[in-house]
Symmetry: C2
DNA sequence: CAGTGGTCTAGACCACGTG
DNA sequence: ACGTGGTCTAGACCACTGT
């Protein structure tokens, strides 16, 4: 269990009977090791999104640690949005499917606060060789195959967002315009259920830019109109980048919401 | 200690000897009550920003609970950035002064990733009666006194940000242009040390807009130039709003950073 | 009722920082 | 050497959800 350099033998540490925290350089707490083991189970597909994972008592037995240690590991994984606790029921693998919190990755809200469902209009879905910049961001070799998706989002009938989405071709083998068109629900839900790739976190760079002619036409605004430019890189398990997304947002009647805390 | 409706008498609950969790409607965990008590101490000024608070053992004794319960309360307060734990030293009240993480509230970063210190240029600081919209956001009565600060931020010599900052006059009594000019360091550090008001969290609404003539001149850009408009409302203890800030950002060579997790 | 996560306690030992 | 927070355990009971 304990993979620290100094300790492999159970000692009398911490009132424990099975394992003991190491007492030397590069000390790693037991619960972090458990956290890594559970993450491994998620990544390997042992427990799939939406499914329940073994109870705390079971995991404690499996890993030969106390329930409290498993609890702390799960606590952190839940804080990272990898797991979801439900009292009385169990602990579940987080999913983009039934989470009513799908707005974790879409920060554009209407000024009047109402909840308008949005509609996606697919423009294009093609495969090509990665441009240098995209390859760099996706951690691919230049000219590796990638998928490029272009789409519009309409909020309440108004065309508000234009997206260019770049995905590694190797991971998204078999992704076609047809399958995209068929699928109902959020893109990330599809990626998760159809391609086994779950988006964990993302970083965004936001800028104000002037609409160029092509984008202006798509979004029904004048050339030079101020748009929000949003460059997103999304990561999956192990902090591996698996999506680069460039969005152009019309922010009249809508705003990009952010909470600093 | 326990303020639940059903329980005031110590029972034999949870292996405890002093208190017990309630067993009825509107149940509130002990550690949350402790959390509230500690927050109260912060708000009342018993422990000031930068100071150390009593050790976990001391607090446990004071509140007649176990150290583990105090620990959980402090854990959450640390997660909320109200406290800072330092192993071997103690637990401290968070401060905007010596935190090297002052970029929690300034999300504008240069494209090249370098760390350019920014310089503030005060344009104006006057007192007036709150416009209706500002009064609403600050939870004041219309025409209540407010302070309005206008300033520019220069990054590496370039004028990049224009800010209009609205503060409740009652709280910021004695805030003048002179005192602002004197003070070195972040604005929030000054608010904290000089006016006893600590900013805890904020929400921002970001939009792309065209520069109007007056702002264009201040920022050295053409009229109509795309700017990032950032509307911030900041809150202090008890989620009371104490600042409304409107910022205009030039995002050429800079971007607004956001992390979705 | 049994099983799950949630709370609480008590006590041990470890790692860190400072005398 | 001592005090601080950090980790780990063991065991009890509570709250919630299903059978």
């Amino acid at each position: 269990m304990n993979s620290n350099p100094a300790t492999t033998t159970p000692t009398s540490g911490a009132g424990a009977t099975e394992v003991a925290p190491a007492s030397s350089p590069t000390f790693s707490p037991l619960y972090q090791q458990i956290k890594a083991l559970i993450t491994q189970g998620l990544e390997s597909g042992e427990w799939k999104p939406g499914e329940i994972i073994p109870s705390e008592v079971e995991l404690a037995a499996r890993y030969k640690v106390s329930q409290g240690t498993v609890r702390k590991a799960i606590d952190e994984l839940a804080a990272d949005n990898l797991l979801v606790r439900r009292q009385g029921k169990g602990t579940f693998v987080a999913t983009h499917n039934e989470d009513r919190v799908q707005f974790r990755f879409l920060r554009l809200l209407p000024d009047d606060g109402d909840v308008h469902p949005h509609v996606s209009r697919l423009l294009e879905c093609k495969r090509l060789r990665a441009p240098a910049e995209i390859a760099r961001q996706l951690d691919l070799k230049p000219a590796d195959p990638v998928v490029l998706i272009k789409r519009l989002l309409q909020f309440d009938g108004e065309t508000t967002v234009f997206d260019e989405i770049w995905l590694p071709g190797a991971v998204f083998r078999g992704l076609t315009a047809e399958r995209l068109a068929e699928y109902k629900g959020p893109l990330y839900a599809m990626f998760e259920t159809e391609f086994g790739t779950r988006m964990i976190r993302a970083t965004e760079k936001v800028r104000a830019i002037a609409a160029d002619p092509s984008v202006a036409e798509l979004l029904n605004v004048a050339e030079g109109f101020p748009l929000l430019s949003v460059e997103r890189v999304s990561y999956t398990y192990g902090d591996r980048p698996v999506e680069v997304r460039r969005g152009w947002y019309v922010t009249t009647g809508y705003y990009y919401q952010n909470d600093l805390s």
